[in-house]
């Protein structure tokens, strides 16, 4: 009897027939990568295969790697197995990876969201027999509002602060969330400043043709008083540090906000101690996960990270053949990022460090 098309090993998701791994967390010879976040694209693989849209960030982060690229929807044959990459809508260039052998189709979702964010190629459901899915926000308490509503909330907050002579510092991950926000806010309200880690990613994405509004990189020399009423976009770890306190204006200390799916929970919002929490995630909410899974038509579902045990039970009750797979993927972490980079100081963390934290 043939082995399953995909197996789950302590190195990552493995295809025995094709002899390749998907998003491995330990060194392997051949790695197919869903997207450039640090828990999915790691150092030390012999060869990489990723989408054209994901490649620049991966090169920027991982340096001189042996990386081959594909377009969305383009089919490659790897060791007798058909593989293709399909939009996951998570961040620019992110993909679900489809693997097919003699009519049997498996799809690995990587991270995904189903709402179009105006920047990433929107999520496309892919029919399959087995679907390997994340479930970071796999609880019915997570129900996102449309991005336009959240952007309007952020605009109102920014406008109010600007009128009161306060800067607005918005914490958002350096790859994906930050650019999504830049593209969504009303840049007529005031100048937009960026932390070095965000700006480095901006540069990479602009170079590959993404349209972002004008931004000003904050450096140790930046005169923060010269940009009254600014929106400052920074990685979450920069909030609450001396770096952020530099932006005190005539209206006093800057107002701080966070954009994350976790902000849906009042308790988490309060723990982070920001003035405002904006509920915005690059992962699917409960309804999004359920819709995405239904649209694959798959009967077998493997859940990789998030509220896996609960979500698996829910799927099993709906009649799916569902299983939990232990992986090293981390979902939308609010905390892992802060450990190493709470270095305060005027020096921005290096872009590579920050991308690694900015899952």
């Amino acid at each position: 009897m043939a082995e399953p098309l995909l197996t789950f090993t302590d190195r990552g998701i493995y295809c025995p027939d094709g002899d390749f791994h998907i998003d491995p967390w330990r060194p392997v010879d051949r790695a197919l990568i869903t997207h450039g976040h640090a828990d999915h694209a790691r150092d030390g693989m012999g060869r990489y295969l990723a989408t054209e849209g994901a490649a620049p960030v991966m090169r920027h982060r991982l340096g001189d790697i042996r990386l081959d690229t594909v377009r969305y929807g383009e089919t490659r044959t790897v060791g007798g197995v058909e593989v293709s990459f399909h939009p996951a809508g998570h961040v620019p260039g992110s993909a679900q990876i489809r693997v097919a052998r003699r009519g049997e189709v498996w799809v690995v979702s990587g991270d995904y969201k189903v709402e179009a964010d105006g920047l990433s190629t929107p999520f496309e459901p892919v029919r399959c027999h087995a679907f390997v899915t994340e479930c970071t926000f796999g609880l019915p308490v997570f129900a996102w509002r449309p991005q336009a509503d959240v952007a309007a909330e952020i605009d109102a907050w920014w406008r109010g602060n600007a009128a009161a002579g306060r800067a607005s510092i918005l914490g958002a991950y350096a790859l994906g969330k930050a650019q999504r926000l830049l593209a969504a806010v009303d840049c007529g309200i005031g100048p937009i400043l960026t932390h070095g880690a965000v700006e480095n990613t901006n540069a990479v994405l602009r170079a590959q043709g993404l349209m972002l509004p004008d931004t000003v990189r904050v450096t140790p020399e930046t005169d923060t008083k010269a940009h009254p009423g600014a929106l400052v976009v920074a990685p979450p770890s920069a909030l609450g540090t001396p770096w952020a306190r530099r932006f005190a204006g005539p209206g006093g200390a800057p107002s701080t906000g966070f954009a994350s799916g976790w902000m849906a929970l009042r308790g988490v919002r309060r723990r982070r101690g920001a003035d405002r929490g904006f509920v915005l995630s690059d992962h699917a909410d409960w309804a999004g996960l359920n819709a995405a899974i239904a649209e694959t038509g798959a009967e077998r579902i493997f859940v990789t990270h998030g509220y896996t045990a609960i979500f698996r039970r829910w799927l099993a009750e709906l009649g799916y053949d569902a299983a939990v797979v232990e992986t090293a993927y981390e979902g939308e972490s609010l905390d892992a990022d802060a450990d190493e980079s709470d270095q305060g100081g005027q020096n921005a963390p290096s872009p590579r460090e920050d991308l690694e934290k900015g899952l």
């Binding site: 976790w262 003035d275 709470d342």
Partner: protein, 531 residues
Amino acid sequence: MKRFAALFTALDQTTKINPKVAALADYFAEAPEDDRLWTVALLSGRRPKRTVTTTLLREWAAARAGLPLWLFEECYPIVGDLAETIALILPPPERREDRSLTAWIGEIRALSALPPEDRRARILAAWDVLDRTERFVFNKLITGGFRMGVSQKLMTRALSRATDIPEPDLAHRLMGDWSPDTVSFETLIRAPDPTVDLSKPYPFYLAYQLDDGPESLDGPPAGWAAERKWDGIRGQLILRGGTHFLWSRGEELMTDRFPELARIADYLPPGTVLDGEVLAWRDDAPLPFNALQKRIGRKTVPKKLLTDAPVILYAYDLLEWAGEDRRALPFVERRALLEAAAAEVPPDAPLRVSPLVPFDDWPALAAERARSRDLSAEGIMLKRWDSPYRDGRKRGDWWKWKVDPLTVDAVMIYAQQGHGRRANLFTDFTFAVWDGNQLVPFTKAYSGLTDAEFRQITAWVRKNTLERFGPVRSVKPEHVFEIAFEGIQASARHKSGLALRFPRMARWRRDKPAREANTLADLQAMLAAYG
């Protein structure tokens, strides 16, 4: 409800004090008088009686959202708040309706007269016309425990700003046994009549913790009075109009729980208010706190308990005498009045004056403090002789100098995810000590680490899980923590045979290998010495 929900949002959206006070003061200036009064009531811990059980609310909410109950029950501990969980899972409202806070509270209270089926219909109808924040507020009103991130102190400050009545006066007016049914905004706050509520207590003065030792205090030792800090229940005994009332610090009326204190009224005149500690007492010494614990939480007391754990009031201050508020007098004069009054009470009546601890200099007092545990005291209280009796927690005049906690080094063996504020971190741990080669669990602890430490230990737990038991994970017995606690007692309910009071993590002992943690024998020795 829109206006009240907007207030809630404004308070919730900032961690800074001034904007909170400003938002509240605006509300107190604008809102209808009934809503204002209810807001004061809610923010001082007075809430409508619960008219629906939380079990029913969970069932109704899950059904309305089309979810199985087990899934709701899984979400609740992760969100950490029932009202919020319900607000989050319900589908968006179908239409909107704006009714006042008072009207919604009236609706909730009216439920008690209805059969269960009608209650359900009313609640579902309410959920259908409220948005997410309003639903959260509405659910909080039903389930109680409304906090809103505003202390009574901040609320009083905002009310003072909106009414121009000084804060200490307001603090006093807001004390005691009132509800929006018995008072109006006018009679409670603007023009109070002192004869209406004979039971009304004074705001308690609360001591600050002394962290740096008494040398850090202002002035020479002679300016300070020292007493022992007793481990009882803080209480205010009010003798007025021929009857008596006993209030707890949490503003709960405890009169009926401690009926023996009624005798004090036989010897002291009406118009007397005493502040002190209710202690279980025998043979001229306090009994351990667990003797008193049996009396807490009982509305009435069986005879046997009255003889097993009789209580006294250990008085340490006098707030009212001959019907006059004496709080502005210096402590030295209040204390003299107290001693003179107590001299009229026979020794077998349940009143004593908490004795002063004489001392000449700070080292002498430190030596007295070191004896605390032997005397069943928690440490030393320091009060400035020339200070008035203030309200609330104010720095400067009263200090508690607690005895150092007991500590033990223990190995973490189980971890559980936190909830609410710490939903995505591992924060609840079980600790064990060695019994030969076995690790015996003896306590749980979930506070004392910084957020950064919780993040580190969370990452470690994820990588070092041995087994999962529902939400609990067993982890490699590798990390040692210093557990601090206030007391230890024998317990048949625990495998280790003992239970700790107020255990918390004092330090992460990264320097210590697990093998060097304390043993069960060490704990048993502590139990023998302090239990």
